[in-house]
Symmetry: C2
Subunit: 415 residues, 2 copies
Amino acid sequence: MIAEVLATGDEIRSGALVDTNSAYISEKIEEIGIKITRHNCVGDDEDELTTILLELAERADIIIVTGGLGPTLDDLSREAAVRAAGVSLILDNKVLEKIKNFFVSRQKSMPDSNIRQAMFPQGAAILENPIGTAPGFSLRIGRGTFFFLPGVPAEMRKMLNEQVIPKIKQEVKDPYYYKTKTISTFGLGESALEDKLSDFPSLFPDIKLGFRASFPEVQIKLYQKNSNENALVKEQEKAITWIKEKLGHKIVSLTGQPMATVVGDLLIKQKATLAVAESCTGGLIANWLTDRPGSSEYFLLAAVTYANSAKQSVLGVEQKTLEQWGAAHEETAMAMAVGVKKLSGSTYAIATTGIAGPAGGSLEKPAGTVYIAFAGPQGTKARHYFFPFGKRQLNKKIFAAQALNLLRLELLKSI
Amino acid sequence: MIAEVLATGDEIRSGALVDTNSAYISEKIEEIGIKITRHNCVGDDEDELTTILLELAERADIIIVTGGLGPTLDDLSREAAVRAAGVSLILDNKVLEKIKNFFVSRQKSMPDSNIRQAMFPQGAAILENPIGTAPGFSLRIGRGTFFFLPGVPAEMRKMLNEQVIPKIKQEVKDPYYYKTKTISTFGLGESALEDKLSDFPSLFPDIKLGFRASFPEVQIKLYQKNSNENALVKEQEKAITWIKEKLGHKIVSLTGQPMATVVGDLLIKQKATLAVAESCTGGLIANWLTDRPGSSEYFLLAAVTYANSAKQSVLGVEQKTLEQWGAAHEETAMAMAVGVKKLSGSTYAIATTGIAGPAGGSLEKPAGTVYIAFAGPQGTKARHYFFPFGKRQLNKKIFAAQALNLLRLELLKSI
């Protein structure tokens, strides 16, 4: 079984747009146990498109094509498909009606150019597009079954998952159940995780293990297939228990959630609230926390006190603390955490202060140094870390994640 | 002249990693006037790699290959290249010495596996890697000149720009000068920009125009080539003057800088300082502002007052303002801006309050509504906007950019 993807469009071919569709499709197809052999991309050129469709028709069994189904003249996937298949384009009146209704519901009249979106190669099976005007279609050319999908990621993803994947499973008469599990971790790199889990392949030969860096977190992925759904679930439970033993609190979430979401869940569970005092992370912790819908339930305040004067006037950090220890120090971090906790009346507080770089470092405290403090009902503590990434934005990210991780570990203690 | 790119590696083939290298390479190659015809990707499989190299050797003149040059057994680009070219691998002692020194300088000894990185196909020209252990090489196979580069983006980019692009220009005996210009804009979508600039192609037929969305900003790209460097520069100046007339203050930066950097430059020029009060943007404005190195020169404080109690205790927003107008209102936004300005002693302040969604909206103030205030030496003003994006993270971004844009326009007035 040879499967390939083909992305079309001049924006992707010329590099104006990064192709994220091919990665998404490959991952979803591999999840049902079919290996993607190649990715291909050509631009909006009917000859080029027809040529590559004919090549694919000779060498692949399943081909997912994205893009070129819009109403404009540079949308050429339909035309290339009929040329490659040696058939004609036929108007589908039902689809035309739907497209017209789509415009009526938006109180507009359909431009003539959209008629093209209701035309399909003879013999094609229509793939409905529930969230856009461009329907897709599947078509047999040579040895290949082609699935033509729109290039808009949201439309493509919905149609792939709801229509294409089930059709492929039918096509290959696939007797297997599939399950993918994503586990988020923090604190170990990909190779360190691989080392810790090196016995996994021999203990769980039926589960394929993958690692994906999503800096500064790393996701572990488990890919499984089994003809017995029950056995699959049991095997996964055993594997997760084993991974939990090996990694402990390095595991952030067994459902692949990012750190800030997990921290939010823990705060809600404890009916606790949080305030943040940020210096070198510059608002990134607050930004991550508030990306979670419903974060207003627990997140009260972040004071991004970049200037020393703001550390004093807003957080009440004393002049003598700053003079004695400097802005980047455990004592200052603790004073910031205590200050923002008092100011907001929150249950917990975290604070960051350090040197994100590139400037501002010294031999003793080089760029990459961060001081993180935690304040809670039981008291206050601070830690310092050095990270060798050497880039301002990477430093901000690792500092912010480290601070949220300190909070997460404290919240886990108080469960 | 047919040019193609080939990305190799199982992470990309299987979708675990999005391929950003191919877009980068295509853009750089198109900037010197050579059209990229296709992208290709195969995994770490010697047979697959050899097959596609032979296909490329038949149909393309220039091929950029990324990945597969590392020291491990799944790095197979060298082996596939010698098979496709029908030559042998030869050890280069100079390169071996350099790799050994690389490890010595890190006080480690070189693992045996790294010897492979000093082996090159007979007849290859070595491409030095100034920032990693994997050198690349160029090699003629069939009609094609192949450039093999590492997959690590930073290494690939440096080697492409410093070694490969000059070689290609030599190879094609290219008599042209090339220039790319990036202009950042805010406030108009891609198609609205295209409309405004619709006369451009007839007025400046020698300049190719491109648009790239970098939400919520849109970049305009000018691609030029000319055998006369002077004429090229003059033509670009004329084009930019014309674009400035058409777009006015929708232009954020003539050098492609993002909004937060431009705002920082304006503040430094005016020796002014800034404080921010954020509610619905949740720290994103502060995070963008502090991504700019040296932002501590002008950025004093952001108060991310998510809770109403924090708006009162930190910013001094009065209870009766919140009761009379609600948290999402121009009056509240102005009180926040005035409060944070006073608290920090800054020259300017901006404030945001609104509904990022998905919850918290009403018929009157649906999710996507934002109130933005500005406070400066001349006084205070506020505006409100509604954006129909319907997604929390997109709303946060467009709210934050709109607030920074209001500040930018005020700063431009006071120049």
